[in-house]
Symmetry: C2
Subunit: 705 residues, 2 copies
C-alpha cells in the first residue's frame, strides 16, 4: 500500500494551525481598505463603496496617504496609524507598494486580501515580487488571499470585500473561483437563477490560500452546504486528494476544472504514458475523492442549484409526471445509460393513479396526466406516488391551452413542503412558464429548462451520494528499506554501465521483490553455443535499452521449436545486432494480455495505469487509472467496475479471470512507484493472465530511469 | 448494389402528384371550420378565433349545424352548403362524426385538417375508424393532415389553423411536430429565443401526411431555410432515406427523434442482431441521409436558431474573442474531439492584434481582450481576424465592472453586417447581459448562454455542411434472378427437411454465388472412416441448427494434427451428439476476426452490420452500420471513417488490411439481403482477414430462415 510522504502531513498540520485565523479573515469585525478612494472608476472606490454601502456592520477604516478624510470619515495615512485592531486589510495599491504596506503593518495586521495585480501573472519581475511577499507572509505568520484577485464576499455579514458589484442573497453555496470574471458572471447568473451564497472567493494567484485551504475551511463552515469551485490548476495534488476525500464525506464539492485539452505529449517511450492524458487522470482523481465534476458552466450552475436546495436522492428510483407524452418520451430517453432509473410502480399505485385520470392517460412511469390536466391531476399523482419508495419526483409541464401553469407550480411547492424526497421540475417554455419557474426556485425546487438536463444533473447528484463514504482511510505502511536498497543497487549499477533502462533479468529480479511473477530468462553472449536440455518452444530477442519496440525493429524471433532453430535465430540476430546479448525465454501459451504501468503525473504523483493490452491497446483505451492510496479491497472494487470489468465477471463462453491476482500486481506496482522514484517510466507489457488456473506472468518489464 | 423495390418508386410518384395540392392546403385562399364555436373553453372556439382574429385575409367559412350565425357572420349547416370554393376544411367535431363530414363533402373539398382525437391513438375502435378515413381519402384523392393533431400555422399569410395560441414571427424555420404539446412549448420558447417560422405543423397520427410528405413539400418551399422535426416514429424507413437524402442536399433537416431506449430484444440467435439497437441504426440512417440529429430539446432549439440566422461555417477554423481568460479556457476545452478547431493566426495578424491590446492580453486564439475591454478592443479584434481565412468568430463576454455590454453587442452586430462568415456570441451572465443578447438575436446573431454550448452546436452545423452533398445517387442494379432461384432452391430444400438454418456447406455454396470466399469443408456421417490424404491441422465440429453456439456447448474440437486425433475427435463428438454429421475444416492461420451480418430492421429494412469480431465483440462494439443503398466507394469511405478504420489505416507495427476486399464482402451481403428476404438472420462470424496477402475467408456462416 502506498503511503503519504511526510511533507504531506506537515502541510496538514499547518492547515490546522491556521484554521482559527482564517475565519477571522472571512468574518472580520473590522476591515481596513488600503488604497481607499472616492474617484470614479477606480478599483479602490468600488471596494470602498462595496464595504461601506451594502450593510456591513463591522468597523471600516480607510487608508490612503493622499486624503485626510474620505466618504465622510477619517482617512489614515497607514495601517499602523489605526489605533483599534484590524481583522483584515484589503490592499488595492499598485503592486510596487504592496510589499511595503504589508511589511510595515505585519505585526499589527495578520490577514490580508491583496487585490493588486502585477505579481506572478506578469512574468519574471512579478514572480520575484510574489516570492518576497510569500516569504514575508511565512515569516510573520500572515494569511493572504490573492494577490491579483477580486476579493471575497460574505453575504451573512453583508460584507462585500471585493470590487464585484452587489450583494448576493444569503444561502448555502460557497463559490471559489480562480477567475475573477467568472465570479462576476456567476453573481449575475445567480441573481437570475436564484442561487444563494454563504461566501464567494476570488483566489487570484493562489500564492498562499488555494483550493486546499478553502476546502478545509468551508468543510467546517456550518453555513455552507455545498462547495463549488472553478479551477484552472491544482497546486498540490496529494494535498488535494487528501483534503477533498475528507471534506467530500461531509459535503458535496462540485468542481469545474478548466484546461481539459492535452498538453503536447512529451517524448514518451512507455505505452502507459501515451495512454493517459492529464484529463483522464483528473477524472480518476475526482472519482476517487468523491468530487462531482461539472463538465461545463451550464452543468456547474445547475449542480449548485439542485444541491443547494435539495438533499441527494435517497435511491435511484425516479417518478416522472408529465402533461405531454412527447416530453415524457424525451425524459425516458435521457435515462439511457444513467444510474438513476425510471421507477416501476406497484399495481396498487397504478390503480390509484388511474382513479383520477382519463383513460388515455398513462399510469406507467412517466405518468401522463394529459394535455388538459389542471393542478388536481398533478396533486393526485404526486400524493399517490409518494406511497412508493421513490427517491426523486420530476414534474414536467408544457404550457398548453388550458394548463394552469401557476396553480400547478403551487401544487408542486406544497408537495415539496411535505416530503423529504427530491422534487424537481422541468417546465418547458418561455414567457408562459417564467413566473411559475421563479416561484418554484424561490421555494427551493430545482428547476430545469428541459427534462433531459434534469435527468442528467439528478444522475450526477445521485452518483455522488453513492460514492461518498465509500472511501476508506488507510494506515500508512512502513517503507521496506531493505527492498529499496536492493533496487537502488541494481539501478545504480545499470546507470554506471551507461544504461537508460534495465535488462529484463534485472527487472525480473525487482519484480520478484514485489511479488510479481515474471517469465524465466536465459541470456546468450555473442558466439555462445546453445546448451542441451533447453525446453522448447522458445522466443529469442534483443534486450537492449537501444531497442524499445522490438516488434517494429524485428529484434524478436517467435516459435523456436528446437536447438537447431535456436542456433539459426541467434546467428541471424547477431548478424543484425552485433555484440548484443540475446534473451531467450519460453514461449508461453497465450493468455489474455494486460498492460500495467506507472504514470508520473506532475500534479498528482504516481498513478498506476492498468488495462487491456495487445496490439490495439491504444485504439481501445480499455484502461483504468488507480490513484494512490488504495488498499487491496479498493483496487478489486475499481477493477470490478472499470473498463476491464468484463474480464473479471466472465463473458459469454469465457471463465472469469482472477481480480484478486491482478489487484495484487497493481498494489505491488503502487508500492514500487512510491519506493523507487528513480524509475522514471515503468511498464509491464504484456502481462499474460489466465482463467484456467495458470499463474499470471509478466512477459516484458520496462524500467527506465 | 442494393436497389429499391418498386413500391418505393410508386410512393415517390404519388408524392409528385400531390405536391401542387399540398401547397393549396397550407396556403389556402379560403378556410372552413367544421365545428366552429364561440363557447368559452371549446377547441372549436380557439381555432375559430385563431383563424379569424390574427390577420388571415382569406375567406373564412364557419360550419356548425347548431348555429345560424357565429362571430358576427353566417354559420353553415354543412360544408356542401357553402357556395364558394373551400381550399381547406379544419374539422373539430367529435370523432364519430368526422367520417360523415368528410364523406359528404369529399367531392367539393379536397384538403382536410382533422383536429379531432379518437382515432388510432385510442386503440381498436379508433384504428378501425382511422382505417375507414384513410380508405375514403385514398378513394377520393384527399389530402388529410391528422387526425388527432393541433393543426398548422402559416405565419406568412397570418393563418393559425390550430388551437395553439398566438402567431409566431414570420421567418425561415419550418417545424414539424409529432407532439402537439411540444409544438405549443416551442411557440413559447420561440418567443423568448427569437425563433421565426415559415410554418408549423402538428402531424398527429400521421394517417396520410407524415414527415416524408412534409419534407418533400418544405424542401421546395422557398420561404423555408431549415426543416426542424420532432418525431416519435418513422412510418416508412425506405421512403425516409430516399426523401431525406435528397431534401438535405437542398436545406438542413434537424430531427429530434424521441424513443432512444431499446425495445426489449426479441429472441435473437445471431450475434449481429444483438449488436445493433434501434438507436444505433437511427444514427446510421441520419448520418447517411445528411440529417442533423439533435440529442435533446435544448440542442434542437439551438440548432434551429443558428441555422435559421447563419450560413454554415465555410471552414473548420474558429476564432474566439473573450474578455475573460477563464471563459476562453472553457471554450478551448469544448473544442476537444470536435471537427471545428481553434484557428492558428499568422504572425502578421498577431502583430496587428497586439497593437490595440495591453501587454497582458493574448493575441493567440482565444484572443483575450482583458476584463477592462471596451467595445473598441472587440471591434479591432473582429476586424483584424477578418483578414484570416476563418469560418466562424465566437465572441465571449462576461459582464465585468467596466464592461460596456450593450456597446460591445452593437460592435458585433455591425461587424456581422459586413461579413458572410458565421458570427456567434456567448455572453455569460443574467440580467446584465439580457438586453444585449436580445438585440443580437434580433440582428440574426446566434447567441448561447455558455461558450461550451456554442462550440458544440457550431460543430454539428459544420459537420452537416461537410456531409451534405457527399451522397451519390445510385443506379438500380437488376436482380440476379438466376442466383435468386438457386438460393431459393437450397433454402426450400432445407425447409422441407425441417431445418431452421442451413448447413455450412450449403451456406458456403450461397456465399460463392455472391463472391464471398468460405473455408473448405468435409462432412463425416456417423461411423464414416477418416480418409487418407487429408491435410492437417483441422477442426471438427457439429454443424446443426440445434447447436448455434458451438463453443458454449463444446461441440468443437480445435487443432487436430493427424488422422488418429481426427478419429478420436469424431468418436468423442458422436458420443455426445449421436447421429449428427460432423464438419471438418482446415485450421487456418488465425487472421484478424471480423463479424458481418444483417439486421432486418422493422422500419429501415436490411442494414449490414460489420466490425471487429472475437470473444469481446459485444463488449467493444466496434461495429458500423451500412444502410443501403451504397456503392462500393461509399462502403470503402465508411470503412475508412468507421469504428474499424484503424485496421485499414495500419496501426503501430501492423500492415493495413484491404478495405476494398472487406467492402466487396459488405456489398455482396447487401445484395444478398435484398435478394433473399427469406434469410431472416444472417451472419459471418468470424471472417478472417489478413494483411499478408492471404485472401479473406468466412470461417462460419449462419443463414437462419
Amino acid at each position: 500500500m502506498y503511503n503519504y510522504k511526510t511533507e504531506c502531513n506537515n502541510s496538514l498540520f499547518s492547515l490546522f494551525m491556521e484554521k482559527q485565523k482564517l475565519s477571522t479573515l472571512f468574518s472580520p469585525k473590522s476591515v481596513a481598505i488600503v488604497g481607499a478612494s472616492d474617484k470614479e472608476g477606480k478599483v479602490g472606490t468600488a471596494i470602498t463603496e462595496n464595504v461601506m454601502k451594502l450593510g456591513y456592520e463591522g468597523k471600516v477604516f480607510l487608508v490612503n496617504p493622499s486624503y485626510e478624510s474620505l466618504h465622510g470619515q477619517k482617512c489614515y495615512k497607514s495601517l499602523i496609524e489605526i489605533e483599534d485592531g484590524v481583522d483584515v486589510a484589503v490592499v488595492v495599491v499598485p503592486a510596487k507598494f504592496v510589499l511595503d504596506v504589508v511589511r510595515q503593518s505585519a505585526d499589527k495586521v495578520k490577514n490580508f486580501v491583496i487585490i493588486s495585480a502585477g505579481f506572478s501573472e506578469i512574468g519574471k519581475d512579478g514572480v520575484q515580487r510574489e516570492g518576497e511577499l510569500a516569504l514575508l507572509a511565512k515569516q510573520k505568520g500572515l494569511n493572504v488571499l490573492g494577490p491579483n484577485c477580486l476579493g471575497f464576499i460574505n453575504p451573512k455579514i453583508n460584507l462585500n470585500a471585493s470590487f464585484a458589484a452587489g450583494m448576493p442573497e444569503k444561502g448555502n453555496i460557497a463559490f471559489v473561483s480562480q477567475s475573477g470574471a467568472l465570479l462576476v458572471a456567476a453573481l449575475d447568473i445567480a441573481k437570475k437563477e436564484g442561487l444563494k451564497f454563504s461566501s464567494l472567493f476570488s483566489v487570484g494567484n493562489k500564492m498562499q490560500m488555494s483550493e486546499i485551504e478553502l476546502m478545509e475551511e468551508l468543510g467546517n463552515d456550518k453555513d455552507t452546504k455545498i462547495i463549488g469551485m472553478y479551477l484552472e490548476g491544482i497546486n498540490d495534488g496529494k494535498a488535494f486528494i487528501e483534503t477533498a476525500s475528507r471534506v467530500s464525506q461531509k459535503k458535496p464539492i462540485v468542481i469545474l476544472k478548466a484546461g481539459k485539452t492535452e498538453k503536447s505529449q512529451k517524448a514518451i517511450s512507455s505505452h502507459t504514458g501515451a495512454l493517459s492524458g492529464s484529463d483522464e487522470i483528473m477524472d480518476a482523481v475526482f472519482e476517487k475523492t468523491g468530487v462531482i465534476r461539472a463538465n461545463n458552466l451550464e452543468d456547474f450552475f445547475e449542480m449548485l442549484e439542485i444541491i443547494s436546495s435539495s438533499a441527494a436522492p435517497q435511491n435511484e428510483k425516479v417518478a416522472v409526471i408529465t402533461n405531454a407524452g412527447g416530453a415524457g418520451v424525451l425524459a425516458t430517453d435521457a435515462f439511457k445509460g444513467r444510474s438513476v432509473k425510471l421507477a416501476d410502480f406497484s399495481d396498487k399505485v397504478k390503480g390509484e393513479l388511474g382513479k383520477n385520470l382519463p383513460e388515455e392517460g398513462s399510469v406507467e412511469n412517466p405518468i401522463d396526466v394529459l394535455g388538459d390536466a389542471a393542478e388536481d391531476r398533478y396533486a393526485h399523482a404526486l400524493e399517490t406516488i409518494a406511497k412508493e419508495d421513490i427517491g426523486t419526483t420530476l414534474c414536467i409541464l408544457t404550457p398548453q391551452e388550458k394548463t394552469p401553469v401557476g396553480k400547478i407550480a403551487e401544487v408542486i411547492i406544497d408537495f415539496k413542503k411535505k416530503t423529504d424526497k427530491v422534487v424537481a421540475a422541468a417546465f418547458i417554455g418561455g414567457g408562459l412558464v417564467e413566473e411559475a419557474v421563479s416561484k418554484m426556485k424561490e421555494a427551493g425546487i430545482p428547476t430545469f429548462a428541459f427534462p433531459e438536463r434534469a435527468v442528467g444533473i439528478l444522475d450526477q447528484y445521485y452518483k455522488w451520494s453513492q460514492r461518498k463514504g465509500s472511501e476508506k482511510r488507510l494506515k500508512g505502511k512502513e517503507d521496506c528499506s531493505e527492498r529499496k536498497g536492493i533496487v537502488a543497487g541494481i539501478i545504480n549499477h545499470a546507470k554506471e554501465e551507461g544504461k537508460k533502462a534495465l535488462r529484463f533479468d534485472d527487472a525480473a529480479k525487482i519484480m520478484a521483490l514485489y511479488g510479481i511473477n515474471a517469465i524465466e530468462s536465459h541470456y546468450f553472449k555473442q558466439g555462445e553455443e546453445v546448451p542441451e536440455g533447453m525446453k522448447y518452444p522458445v522466443v529469442a530477442k534483443i534486450d537492449s535499452d537501444r531497442i524499445l519496440h522490438k516488434t517494429d525493429q524485428k529484434a524478436l524471433v517467435l516459435g523456436i521449436k528446437n536447438s537447431q532453430e535456436l542456433s539459426d535465430a541467434l546467428e541471424d540476430l547477431w548478424n543484425r545486432f552485433p555484440g548484443e546479448e540475446i534473451l531467450v525465454q519460453p514461449m508461453l501459451s497465450k493468455g489474455t494480455e494486460l498492460i500495467l504501468g506507472i504514470n508520473r503525473d506532475e500534479v498528482f504523483g504516481s498513478i498506476v495505469v492498468a488495462g487491456l493490452g495487445g496490439i490495439y491497446t491504444e485504439i481501445f483505451k480499455m484502461v483504468d487509472f488507480f490513484v494512490p492510496p488504495m488498499n487491496h479491497e479498493d483496487i478489486v472494487g475499481k477493477l470490478s467496475e472499470g473498463k476491464t470489468a468484463f474480464l473479471f465477471a466472465g463473458a459469454r463462453g469465457q471463465e472469469a479471470f482472477d481480480a484478486d491476482e491482478v489487484a495484487n500486481v497493481i498494489g505491488a506496482i503502487m508500492e514500487f512507484a512510491g519506493e523507487v522514484p528513480e524509475a522514471r517510466e515503468f511498464d509491464i507489457n504484456p502481462m499474460f493472465i489466465y482463467n484456467n488456473g495458470e499463474k499470471a506472468v509478466a512477459v516484458d518489464v520496462k524500467i527506465i530511469f
